[in-house]
């Protein structure tokens, strides 16, 4: 293998405390934010940085697996390893972090914002190999890279919705996928929107979404890929996650709906809409002429 300057390891574990407790109000890094997940957005930036090796470790992986991967890369000659514990969306300039790391000549650089660590660290190969060898000899203290730009921690449904709102408002660097049909209304070209549908800006309608007759999409909504909103339903300040079917005539407000699960943002209550026949998960591969069908 040729010499690789930089490898990036992304660990999708979300907020550690909530992942452990299984709190219903937590959100997953696999949830898209206007067409693309936070994980995909991190990977884009890592690739843009020119990382020669990129790996994503699933949230159920144990820490030794992460260390094993890092040691393996170090053994293969990867000079620097960027470790991202995916607990936030942070618009950190990764190139600047790498340059800062080189400038300060530290073995480890950790990124902080005013609230604390962001789970982003850059390790020198030597430091990783020293760790593998079980050496307890302290090297220089990790350098601290302070970041003061846009950050949202992946801690709750509220923080997920805040990220969606900030993206729709243009308050962060996220740009909705798809084209902007009108000022503040992004609709993917593959979406099927009935002519009677009312849409208020700002909002996002994702790929292969189907909005049936009489649907009203109010401000600050995101309807993610493959979802279907049935006749006459109103969606207000809510996010509909991918491949979710919402039944006719409903009024969904201040909520995130993932298949049959509705999480109310203000009240912190989770409700199973499936038992009442009000929503369903949709099969991802179905694309019949008559449209998507509930599972």
């Amino acid at each position: 293998m040729g010499r690789v300057e930089l490898g990036a390891l992304v660990v999708t574990r979300g907020n550690p405390e909530q992942a452990l407790s299984g709190a219903p109000s937590s959100w997953s890094s696999t949830w898209p934010v206007l067409g693309k997940t936070v994980l995909e957005r991190w990977l884009d930036r890592v690739q843009h940085l020119g990382a020669g090796m990129v790996s994503v470790v699933r949230s159920d992986a144990q820490l030794p697996n992460v260390l094993q991967t890092m040691c393996g890369w170090a053994n293969e000659g990867v000079e620097r390893i960027l470790l991202i514990l995916l607990g936030s969306y942070a618009e950190v300039d990764l190139l600047d972090v790498v340059q800062f790391h080189s400038r300060t000549q530290n073995q480890v650089t950790r990124v902080f914002d005013p609230e604390g660590p962001l789970g982003i660290s850059l390790y020198d190969r030597g430091e990783v190999l020293r760790h593998r060898g079980g050496s307890s000899n302290a090297t220089k203290l990790p350098a601290r890279y302070d970041f003061s730009g846009y950050v949202t921690r992946l801690s709750s449904i509220g923080s997920y919705r805040q990220l969606v709102l900030d993206a729709l408002n243009g308050s962060c660097g996220i740009r909705p996928a798809g084209s902007q049909q009108q000022d503040g209304i992004w609709i993917d070209p593959s979406a099927k929107v009935h002519s009677s549908v009312q849409i208020q800006a700002p909002c996002f309608i994702g790929r292969n979404v189907r909005l049936r007759a009489g649907v009203v999409i109010k401000q600050y909504c995101s309807i993610e890929e493959g979802s279907e909103i049935d006749i006459g339903t109103t969606i207000d300040q809510s996010s509909i996650l991918p491949y979710t079917y919402i039944a006719p005539g409903l009024n969904v407000r201040h909520a995130v709906v993932d298949g049959t699960r509705l999480q109310h943002i203000d009240r912190g209550v989770t409700v199973d809409l499936g038992r009442a026949g009000l929503s369903a998960g949709l099969a991802q591969s179905i694309s019949s002429p008559g449209g998507l069908s509930p599972e």
Binding site: G249, L250, N251, V252, R253, L262, H264, R267, V269, T270, V271, D272, L273, R275, A276, G277, L278
Partner: protein, 121 residues
């Protein structure tokens, strides 16, 4: 002289066939016997509102409405309240925290009628 009456009914915890029939029989009886019935439905036993439960509630509201009465919901859990909102049932029935809140609305409503108020325990 007509009699306007407040009723309190317990909504079945599970909208099974027998429970639903029993509940609807009570509604039919009071709608038949009473002028402008004011029905308070106690949802304290309901932990989850199913499709059958929603249908039952709608049918009840429809019958009482046709008798120029009104339906209020009391003691609904946070989860049930969200289902009521999502299905827009909150525009058909009034949701109240306690029955004490029902009384002013009841008095106000009988002030517009020629009937006499009577509260059933």
């Amino acid at each position: 002289m007509y009699t306007t009456t407040m009723y309190r009914l317990q909504f079945p915890s599970t909208a099974g066939r027998a429970d639903s029939r029993n509940f609807m029989n009570q509604i039919k009886k009071l709608v038949g016997d009473t002028y402008q019935p004011h029905v308070t439905i106690d949802l304290s036993a309901v932990t989850e509102l199913t499709a059958d439960g929603i249908d039952l509630l709608l049918e009840c509201a429809e019958r009482v409405e046709h008798a120029d009465g009104s339906v209020s919901i009391v003691s609904a859990s946070a989860e049930v309240l969200i289902i009521l909102e999502v299905t827009r049932l909150t525009s058909v029935v009034k949701t109240i925290e306690t029955e004490a809140e029902q009384v002013p609305a009841f008095i106000s409503s009988i002030g517009d009628s020629t009937g006499t108020g009577q509260v059933a325990a």
